[in-house]
Symmetry: C2
Subunit: 171 residues, 2 copies
């Protein structure tokens, strides 16, 4: 246990791998291939209807989502190729470390989207806006978006600032 | 492939498990046990210094983080117990589905924090504020926080609204 509780910098991790992830459902989007996906979920105007479809076994965990306007979805970017640690984004060209980008090619290809949750279309089927991933992406987690801890509207974007997606008026 | 590209609701996922996760480093916080952790990273005032320590092999992926003020960290909540799908939060009492909470006990216990990134303390060592996890938590991913896609300051919190953490003036 010592390595986990040490405060010494550069303490190596004790495990090489972690317990396996299990999809809780999948995401439905209009994009059949990676090349079709928008750069982010707020680029298409209007943003198309997307869905999260939660497997029956996990549907009890959705109780209490009503009235929460935005969700954080975590998903497994199953179509992402092997990950270089440094890449040159299409829209930029200079080499950037993957942790300074939102590229899908990452050591652990877990995607994250802050989405608008409109309503349940059926039990276990959530109507969403602002996804940007390929259709059929395995869903890992749903979290309520809490502006008190998740919203940092004044955050500075560093090298990404000139590439910002202009926000429309909120729907 | 048909199941992945179908738009039919309730299409089951094709895989039961996904490729294994690999820690890219670990997090250093003042909290040695789960019971010590604050409810969220913005509750302690002032927020204590925390660190992300990225393993040497992944340090090239940090290139370009300079000038990005806030990061999204994903980590594996290795101390979380087995996950009930419905629970009664300490601060509330009514039963809530885990996907309507930020509780660490979840089907895939991936934690998420929006943190302030102050500076590199050493190569691969990031000084952070606003973590809330236990010391030694395995780190999975670092993403730049983009207010253009991640900030929804007007989001409605549903059942969590009466339990909101009051935000201090930004540092």
């Amino acid at each position: 246990m010592a390595a986990w509780i040490s405060h010494a910098p550069q303490t190596p991790c004790m495990t090489d791998t972690l317990p396996p992830l299990r999809p809780i459902g999948h995401l439905e989007t209009p994009w059949a291939a990676l090349a079709d996906c928008p750069r982010n979920g707020r680029q298409p105007q209007p943003p198309p209807l997307c869905r999260a479809v939660v497997d029956l076994a996990f549907q009890p965990a959705l109780q209490g989502l009503e009235g929460i306007s935005h969700l954080i979805l975590l998903y497994w970017m199953h179509r992402a190729e092997a990950a270089p640690l440094v890449l040159a984004p299409r829209f930029d060209g200079a080499p950037r470390g993957v942790f300074a980008t939102r590229a899908p090619v990452r050591p652990n290809p877990i995607g994250l989207s802050v989405v608008a949750f409109d309503r349940f279309e059926a039990p276990g089927v959530l109507r969403l806006r602002y996804l940007d991933c390929v259709n059929g992406t395995p869903l890992l987690d749903i979290k309520p978006y809490l502006p008190t801890t998740d919203a940092e509207p004044e955050a500075r974007m560093g090298w990404l600032a000139p590439h910002a997606t202009r926000r429309q008026a909120p729907a």
